[in-house]
Structures are given as C-alpha cells and as structure tokens.
Symmetry: C2
Subunit: 124 residues, 2 copies
C-alpha cells in the first residue's frame, strides 16, 4: 500500500488507488477492522498494544507524509491540513461503514471524495 503510494506517478491515479485500497480493505476485512478500531479507542487496549503501536506510528507517519505529498501533487492549497481532513474523513467513512456495512453508501462516499479533489484541481 505504502509502496504503491510512492510509486504511482500520476497523482490522480495515486488518489484513486488510496481511496480504492481503503474501501476494499473495509469490505474484505470488516470484522477484523471493527475489532482493531474498538481496541484502538479502548484505554486498556491501547496500553496492551502500546509496544506494537510504536512500530505503527512510524508507518503511520510515513503514510501521512505520502498522503500529504499526494495532495500537494494534486495542487491542493494546504496539503498538511488537507491530509488531516482526508485522513479524518476516511476514518469516519470507515467507522460508519463498520457500523452498518449493508446500508452504508460506500461507493458514493468514494465518489464524493474524488470529486472534492478533482474540483480543487480544476479550480487551480
């Protein structure tokens, strides 16, 4: 995933890859992700996996930097803040999807995210 985010040259393709990757993971690993999300928010869970978290923090930082670069390449005005906004939105979409996988309009949410950055690019 991180490899692809560094290797795909065209930012539009990289963005679509990111959105599709998150979406595919949600559909394929629903129960697993639900478990990790719950653990992540639970104080005991956080303590129990704090060692593992240190490793993930490095991965997370690299991932965040790759997303920030992607948004910069897409011509977004504030790539750092926009990366936080994108990450938050993806987390929220994931959370809502995990709560009701059958009813959630995942495909339409993906399209709205793509539209957000396509519009920004066209406006430049």
């Amino acid at each position: 995933m991180f490899k692809a985010l560094n290797e795909i040259v065209a930012p539009e393709d990289r963005f679509n890859f990111l959105i599709n990757f998150v979406s595919d993971e949600l559909v394929k690993k629903t129960d697993e992700l639900r478990f990790y999300n719950a653990l992540y928010l639970h104080a005991d869970g956080v303590r129990a996996i704090s060692k593992a978290m240190e490793k993930y923090h490095v991965q997370f930082d690299q991932q965040f930097l790759a997303e920030e670069k992607l948004l910069k390449d897409l011509g977004v005005a504030n790539p750092e803040l926009e990366a936080t906004f994108l990450r938050s939105t993806l987390q929220g979409i994931s959370l809502e999807y995990l709560l009701s996988p059958k009813d959630y309009p995942l495909q339409q949410m993906k399209e709205m995210l793509v539209a957000r950055y396509k519009i920004k690019k066209d406006l430049k």
Copy 2:
C-alpha cells in the same frame, strides 16, 4: 441540540451551530465520548446497550433528517448523500480528536467543513 437544529432559521447559522456543538462536546467530554465510541464498536458493548440503542436510533434518525434538511436549505445538490458525508466526516474528526486531543487541529477542521458548504452555496 436537536431543538436548536429545528429552531435556527438561517441555514448558515444552523450549520455553524452544529459544527460548534460537536466540537465543544469533544473538548468538554473527551473521556466520556472516547468510552462511548469504544463501546459502540465493540460487539459485546453493542449487545449490552442494544436496548438503549433503540431509543437512540429514533433520535439519530431525527438528527440525520435535521442535518439533511439543513444541507438542502444550504442549497447542496444531493442533501441525503451529503448528510452521510458530513456525518462520516464529523465522526472521523471526532475519532481522530479523541485519539490525540492535544495535537489535533480541531479549529482548522471546523473551518474546512464550513468552507465546503459555503463554497457549494456560492457556486449555486
């Protein structure tokens, strides 16, 4: 909260009220919300609070309809899908804030949400 969402006439003021309400709650009730978020995602927790959830589902539906109406009043093209997007984004912002309240740029995220709908309105 729900009362205000029905009573404030100007949609821009209603939108700002919604965003400020969520943000204020996050800051004031961080630990409580972290607990409920974890419970919400945990299968045992969901079963344990399923009775209570029935009551909240009605509230949630009313809240969602009020948000959908707000977006319609703001002149958004697809109020129902946009309400899902807004709800997901607010959930994601909440989740990310709860994970690191000190570092998260909550104020800037609020401004980006406001900008999203102000821009849409201007484009109409």
